[in-house]
């Protein structure tokens, strides 16, 4: 670090320390408009080592401008009221308007030897800077070094995601290790730039080949596949639910999420019914042909003949209907066929059991219908023909970004799909069956880890997310939680995040919640939240040396929801219709 000479310091002078100075905070008398809130400044000082005869050490104290007070002591409030009442322009009067006192309240960030240190690590200041000391604006290079902190020596971990808001020339790099290991929360209101920020981080992590699984409820991340450098790394999955590749319990969860809860008797028979149906639909083409004809005939349903047997919830519903019909009519021949083709002796049901199971068919059909509609929408938004792999751990690959499209599904089904996948991945990591670490990104995280669960699907999602938040670090499973309603997020989960990117936030409940949960967020920074610009963020926590106000860098990818001007789109459509008509 080069020591600045006096002449340089004179040009960079911003103010003088006045009043009481402490090792945590001091006040700076500043000239008009020389400084902005969140600016990073420095003060040179001398510090004698205790019980040492060595000459005092020259140090540089780093500080951040928390807020600026502007006061005209010669302009009494009483006069202001009088001007307002009489609608008089103050310039027309004899009031003094030119003498203002501008004071910047600065938070001490730390100190380092003035003689130089290769890294940017700051020591705690244990003695206040001297009143009447001059504060100055350090070089951009020095600021970048200090913002980077210990990352200076660990550049491989650094993610280049932003610039300082007040010094656009200063790049802000954050600690990727802290993000993937100790969880990150990106909190902001709609339109503040959450997804933009997340995409920038993902692009940076992808350059380091870190495995990422994105749960994408709105198609915000489909554009990642369009980035040339990421083209081979991005895999998009639509969330078609491969019913017969699931465990029976998972299917029950889905049915209950999309229809309504199963009775205990239905639940007790579900394993046999599900496994029986699976065996029924797994045969040679000839066998399947024979079974299709039999089922169509048995149920008097020609549609089955037309479409054949497909391993989905509709088929499961038909199969259960066949069992119920045979049981109720005591059709021993039909029951024998079912037992033979399903391999489940328990399906030779009595009339009573058949009556119990009758209600299951309507649940299965309702769930099948809803699921079908959602799958269609999901597939369209995902722009992918690739269904989710049965083995969830296949989503986690070196250098791969797996995007699980959840758009089109209702919130509880999204939560269900998420918890099934996240559970499988986490379990695989715990059992060491999955060797690679992984980062799970939860867009609209308040749906996957809500503060209060109103449905079983949400409860399961909370449990999963909370477990990953609490224990994921040990097993190499990291989280990025993104939410526009932080106050609806599970507090335990959010408080486990060690890094935060907080953007514009207007809702008072969200501001209060964030202030309470995010310990590293200072009061003055919290007060800035409603006034941040789009793309501006406060970085806080382990990802950065100290909290800073930044402008996020633009990601290369585009989001599905980045809206175009509605009227421009209208005119384009009109033009294309006119072209087609002419043709």
């Amino acid at each position: 670090m080069a020591i600045s000479n006096d002449a340089q310091q004179a040009t960079r002078y911003v103010g003088t320390i006045v009043g009481e100075s402490t090792s945590r905070e001091f006040r700076l008398a500043v000239a008009h408009e020389t400084i902005r809130e969140q600016d990073i400044i420095a003060v040179d000082a001398e510090l004698r080592q205790p019980e040492s005869n060595a000459p005092p050490e020259k140090i540089r104290v780093w500080a951040k401008v928390q807020h600026i007070e502007r006061l005209n002591p010669l302009f009494p409030a009483e006069a202001g009221h009088e001007l307002a009442a009489t609608r008089t322009d103050p310039f027309d009067t004899v009031l003094s308007l030119s003498r203002e006192m501008v004071t910047a309240v600065c938070q001490v960030l730390g100190a380092e030897p003035l003689a130089g240190r290769s890294g940017g690590k700051l020591d705690h200041l244990r003695y206040p800077p001297q009143p009447a000391s001059s504060a100055y604006r350090p070089d951009s290079k020095d600021i970048a070094r200090v913002v980077l902190g210990e990352l200076q020596q660990k550049q491989k971990r650094a993610l280049d995601i932003a610039t300082l808001s007040n010094r656009p020339g200063v790049d802000v790099k954050v600690d990727g290790h802290a993000i993937v290991k100790r969880h990150l929360a990106i909190l902001a209101m709609t339109g503040a730039g959450k997804s933009w920020t997340a995409r920038r981080i993902i692009e940076q992590l992808a350059q380091k080949n870190y495995p990422i699984v994105i749960f994408d409820p709105h198609g915000d991340y489909t554009g990642l596949a369009d980035v040339p450098s990421l083209k081979d790394q991005v895999q998009r999955y639509y969330a078609q639910f491969p019913v017969f590749e699931q465990e029976p319990e998972s299917v029950i969860t889905v049915v209950e999420a999309l229809a309504w809860q199963l009775a205990d008797t239905q639940r007790s028979m579900f394993n046999d019914l599900f496994k029986g149906a699976k065996a029924f639909v797994s045969g040679t083409p000839e066998e399947l042909k024979e079974r299709t004809q039999w089922l169509s005939h048995h149920l008097g349903n020609e549609t089955i003949l037309r479409y054949g047997l497909r391993p989905n919830l509709f088929f499961l519903a038909d199969f259960v209907t066949a069992v119920v019909k045979a049981g109720k009519s005591k059709d021993q021949e039909a029951l024998a066929k079912i037992v033979e083709w399903s391999g489940r002796e328990n399906l030779r049901v009595t009339r009573q059991v058949a009556n119990w199971l009758e209600g299951l068919t309507s649940r299965l059909r309702a769930a099948a219908g809803t699921l079908y509609r959602m799958e269609r929408i999901n597939q369209k938004i995902a722009r992918s023909a690739q269904p989710l792999p049965t083995d969830r751990t296949e989503l986690v690959c070196y250098g791969q970004i797996s995007i699980v499209a959840l758009a089109g599904y209702t919130g509880d089904f999204q939560a269900t799909i998420y918890s099934i996948i996240a559970d499988d991945i986490f379990e695989a990591r715990v059992r060491d069956e999955l060797k690679l670490p992984v980062l799970l990104l939860l867009e609209e995280a308040h749906n996957f880890a809500p503060a209060r669960a109103s449905m079983p699907a949400e409860q399961r999602a909370i449990t999963t997310t909370r477990q990953i938040a609490q224990e994921g670090r040990k097993f190499g499973v990291g989280l990025i939680l993104i939410s526009q309603r932080p106050s609806r997020l599970d507090e335990t989960t959010l408080s486990q995040c060690n890094s935060y990117i907080i953007m514009r936030m207007v809702n008072p409940a969200d501001q209060t919640y964030v202030r309470r949960v995010v310990e590293t967020l200072a009061e003055d920074e919290a007060r800035m939240l409603p006034d941040l610009d789009v793309g501006e963020a406060i970085l806080s926590g382990q990802l950065i040396n100290f909290p800073v106000l930044v402008k996020m860098k633009e990601p290369e990818s585009k989001g599905e929801r980045e809206e175009r001007d509605a009227f421009e789109v209208l005119e384009e459509v009109r033009a294309s219709i006119a072209n087609e008509t002419r043709r």
Binding site: P73, L74, P76, E78, A79, E82, L83, T86, T88, F91, D92, T93, V94, L95, S96, L97, S98, R99
Partner: protein, 496 residues
């Protein structure tokens, strides 16, 4: 149903009661008076005051309507004064402040004159306002009687006047020059100070004259007049005074006033020069103008015993006796008589009654000689005549007194009253021109500065003591106490 208008109600005792209740500062002042007046006057003090004020209001109202030929008090309305009428005016406000240091008691140490100059309507801040402040360390002066309590005042008056002259000199388009306090003080009280030396005057002029030649001209101008006209009329030792080039403070101040007026009269239009006084205890107007007319009227109607009957006394036979017994002052009475946005009829203020013979010692001399200050009464070498009026700014404040130089024309008082009202409307809770409040803040010597001076003084005294430069035992003991004892210390308790 017969509704009384608010104007009518003002003319009733109930109306006066209502007004008093709306003005707590007046109520407090009357309560204070009620406790200090003679016991026989206490019982109906409020009621009788209300009756008296009601009668005065009615008399004013009747005169205003032409129903009375001998008005007791004329009030003029300025509530329509508007900023649009005073745009582009350059206005300067001047005030002086004294910093006192706690040694063993409060000792005046530093004086500071602040000036605030502003051009109304100017949008460019750099062009709009100018601030100046000029410090004088009282210890640097050789002249003046430092043992007198009013020593800082005589220095302040001189410094403020020089500040005014300086402003007039460096502001060719000056429209209004407004001083905080009386334009001219009751000068008789300041007679008898040891004259300032030429070195003292140079110290003053160093701050006030931007051009050294101007300071020299001012100084030489005074010395020439002093030699020809002033000192010979004041003292038998005029030759010596001239030889030693001393500046007798009152003669020097009177010269500065005349110089200020002369400079102002050269300007077209003539700048308004005014002093504005807050919280004045003066009762001259009540005694010599207002109550004189009241008593005369009562005598004319054969009702001379009116006040004695009202208060159940026999000694309330003159304005002075009435004011002495009842504790009324100009501001108290006029606060009850004038409405906000009105100013009283102007009158000539007698400022120089106390100018008579007095003893004066020259710098460095122990003995005194007799000096006649009477020649400094208004005249060729004397102080200027001053006219004044009271301006009532708001209901919650007492009227302020505005003073102008009579020589500068009859319209000075009206224009000064109008501007005072306009400037003071911006501080309705204070009722004082906001520009003077700003100058007051500039002139104020901050506590940290006087503390710092105090420490320096104590340090130097301590060094002198340690070096044995002060050998007198009593003096040493006094100094030790002065330096080290700010509160009563066990070491310095009186011996049992």
């Amino acid at each position: 149903m017969n509704h009384r208008t608010s104007g009518d109600r003002r003319l009733t005792e109930e109306g006066v009661h209502d007004d008093l209740q709306r003005q707590p500062h007046l109520l407090m002042k009357l309560a204070e008076n009620a406790l200090t007046v003679a016991e026989s006057l206490r019982d109906n003090y409020f009621k009788n005051t209300a009756r008296f004020v009601t009668a005065l209001r009615r008399a004013m109202h009747a005169a205003g309507q032409g129903k009375r030929s001998d008005p007791i008090l004329t009030a003029h309305g300025i509530e329509n004064a508007d900023w649009s009428a005073v745009q582009g005016e350059v206005v300067t406000f001047i005030d002086g402040g004294v910093g006192r240091v706690q040694i063993s008691s409060q000792v005046p140490i530093l004086l500071r004159v602040g000036s605030y100059c502003v051009r109304t309507g100017e949008r460019r801040l750099a062009e709009r306002e100018r601030f100046g402040y000029y410090p004088v360390i009282l210890g640097d002066l050789e002249g003046g009687s430092k043992e007198r309590k009013d020593f800082p005042d005589i220095v302040r008056i001189t410094a403020e006047l020089l500040g005014g002259l300086s402003v007039l000199d460096r502001t060719p388009d000056l429209c209004v020059l407004m001083f905080h306090g009386p334009l001219v003080y009751l000068m008789g009280g300041y007679a008898g100070h040891t004259p300032f030396t030429e070195r003292d005057t140079d110290l003053f002029l160093r701050h006030y004259a931007p051009d050294p030649d101007l300071g020299r001209q001012l100084k030489e101008g005074f010395l020439r007049e002093a030699r020809l006209d002033i000192y010979p009329q004041m003292t038998d030792r005029s030759d010596e005074w001239i030889k030693r080039r001393v500046f007798e403070p009152l003669a020097w101040i009177a010269y500065l006033y005349r110089r200020l007026i002369r400079e102002a009269r050269r300007r077209k239009p003539t700048p308004i020069i005014a002093g504005v006084v807050e919280r004045g205890e003066l009762r001259w107007f009540s005694e010599k103008v207002l109550l004189e007319r009241v008593f005369r009227g009562l005598r004319a109607k054969g009702n001379a015993d009116y006040f004695n009957r009202m208060y159940g006394r026999s000694d309330l036979t003159s304005p002075k006796a009435l004011l002495d017994r009842l504790g009324y002052t100009d501001t108290l009475l006029l606060a009850m008589l004038l409405q906000p946005g009105q100013f009283s009829e102007p009158w000539e203020i007698e400022k120089y009654e106390g100018l008579r013979r007095g003893a004066v010692s020259l710098p460095g001399e122990a003995g005194t000689g007799l000096v006649n200050f009477a020649p400094l009464k208004p005249g060729k070498i004397g102080f200027p005549q001053v006219r004044g009026c009271y301006v009532h700014v708001s209901e919650t404040t007492e009227p302020v007194r505005v003073e102008v130089f009579e020589e500068l024309g009859a319209d000075q008082i009206v224009e000064a009253a109008r501007r005072t009202y306009l400037y003071a409307r911006l501080l309705p809770g204070y009722g004082f021109p906001v520009g003077l409040d700003i100058a007051d803040k500039l002139a104020h010597v901050p506590a940290w500065l006087t503390d710092a001076y105090g420490k320096l003084i104590r340090y130097h005294l301590g060094v002198s003591l340690q070096r044995g430069e002060i050998s007198d035992a009593d003096m040493r003991r006094i100094l030790v106490q002065a330096i080290y004892m700010t509160h009563r210390d066990w070491l310095f308790r009186p011996k049992a």
